[in-house]
Homo-oligomer: 321 residues x 2
């Protein structure tokens, strides 16, 4: 199996042709034009079969998710995604698999005007590594390290649905049949908050995408910003399915530690609170204030205005950092 | 195993800190500054254990080779390498392995002033995917598609030593003990022709790095440039070890189809021949003229000025494109 042969066949049918791509798939490297007054953000994520997705996952969902988790990182920087490199390791050449996988990849690429510029196809146990790049105006990117004491803590969307789907799949939680498709879609087809991230560039002090779970990812912001935070558990946004399936305590616990949400967690100063909420509302992105940054250097939680202890693996991960 | 935990530990000790890296390992993305009047080249290569290297390969050699094969692609574009993203999939956390692997990665990075800007560490069967980037002056990159009828065909270095080492390892060819270390080093520690590639930017009409084997890679140039080529078999550069180990015919066949050389194959117009040879000599890079581009659309070979048939798997790969 030679480099690019498969990629050429399945991955040159893409609809996106960006003007800043000077040379695409088919040479030793792709070539892209650098743009004056823009910074370039770069992220790499690997998905391994049996580790990051069940072996039975459809190829289309794998393709979608491999792109989505990378675009989610780009969204968290406030950047606009531009180029993808795709490395696929496959046990064998499977045209049907590749064809469906490529639909999952290109649907997202076309939606966000991202061009696949190259990659590698190798033989081995199934895994996908994508390197995605994006652009921000010079010096305007968001990072994890800008949160300040007093900033308000926000998330986009609802939390926990993807984790609920995974636990249903593992037969750890029983979800009503009528709900299964909806939460499975949250797990298999996460929607990266790309437009929300760009909107936040003007308002947020720090941002991260929720891949490891709310507590763990808030831990990353607190570590990088050298602050602490309190989460108001009553405020954590949950879907109707989460509320109908789990007790209120179990639902919040899953939302805190579940992971795979690919929502954005971000901090906003008091002064920017209204402006941000207005802009996100115009962009059609639901946001919820779930707490506040403080000087404590730890993460605390409150329920009905009373402190409650955190009992979570994710938190242990954070505290061991 | 959480993202970046391993990478943070083993991969932040690097010596290279480039001014154009605004944010490195530890956030959702790395951020690099784009430079006016420069193009960016991007390449991705995966190495899978048992496919691209024997399972017994030392971690240091794997680290070196994973970087080298990517820098070799960048060299073939005439670009200067700048940034690396590294995705490692490992069966288990093995500190010794990671420590030695990182030495292989950083030795090359430091030599070429390339900064590791991020990546991902996941659990699964051993494989490494690197995305490397580099810079060229605007519009000055080399590609596979510029070869013209009458251009002279050149290679850097000698061909076939790495393939000889692999066949010795597979017990298909017996190599004298005194030679083994030297050819094994050619297989395990290929030296990407980074400086030679940048020198060629001013002289070559087309270039490619030799990873698939001379015939296959010349096929890529001929396809992309819509030309043919003749190789003068007497001229193909062979090491003393190749000459001492194999018959002249077997040696040339291995050099034509072996692969893994990571030398550069390039074309130069008659007018630029002397200038190129002088510049490459100043740069300390040995080059050999091995043939000429023609209008035939096929690859032919001559020996003692007589046409000889090609009998090679690599050529079949080319002709089936």
């Amino acid at each position: 199996m030679k480099e690019f042969e498969l990629i050429k066949h399945f991955f040159t049918k893409q609809g996106v042709e960006r003007k800043d791509v000077l040379l695409s798939i088919g040479d030793d490297c792709a070539v892209v034009a650098s743009t004056e007054n823009q910074d370039i953000v770069v992220t790499t994520d690997t998905l391994v079969a049996g580790v990051h997705f069940p072996h039975e996952t459809t190829p289309r969902a794998i393709g979608h998710k491999a792109v989505a988790v990378n675009l989610s990182d780009i969204a968290a920087m406030g950047a606009k995604p531009s180029w993808l490199s795709l490395a696929i390791t496959l046990p064998e050449v499977d045209e049907k698999w590749l064809s469906e996988f490529s639909v999952g990849v290109f649907d997202l690429c076309e939606y966000y005007n991202v061009q696949l510029i190259g990659g590698d196809t190798t033989q081995g146990p199934l895994s996908i590594t994508i390197t995605a790049q994006g652009l921000t105006p010079e010096g305007k990117y968001l990072s994890r390290s800008g949160a300040k004491t007093g900033d308000w803590l926000y998330v986009t969307g609802n939390l926990g649905d993807a984790a609920l789907a995974l636990r249903h799949y593992k037969k750890q939680i029983n979800v009503k049949t009528e709900y299964v498709d909806q939460i499975q879609a949250k797990l298999d087809y996460p929607k990266p908050r790309v437009l929300a991230g760009q909107t936040l560039r003007e308002y947020a002090t720090a941002a991260i995408d929720l891949s490891d779970g709310l507590l763990a990812d808030l831990g990353h912001i607190c570590n990088a910003s050298n602050v602490g935070a309190n989460i108001v558990l009553d405020a954590v946004p949950l879907s109707e399915i989460m509320k109908a399936t789990l007790s209120s305590q179990d639902a919040v616990n899953l939302a805190l530690s579940g992971g795979d949400d690919y929502e954005l967690l971000f901090t906003v100063s008091e002064d920017n609170k209204v402006g941000m909420e207005t802009a996100m509302s115009s962009a059609g992105t639901p946001v919820t204030c779930i707490g506040q940054i403080n000087t404590s250097k730890v993460i605390s939680t409150t329920l009905n205005n009373k402190a409650v202890p955190i009992n979570s693996v994710s938190f242990e991960h954070f505290s061991s950092n």
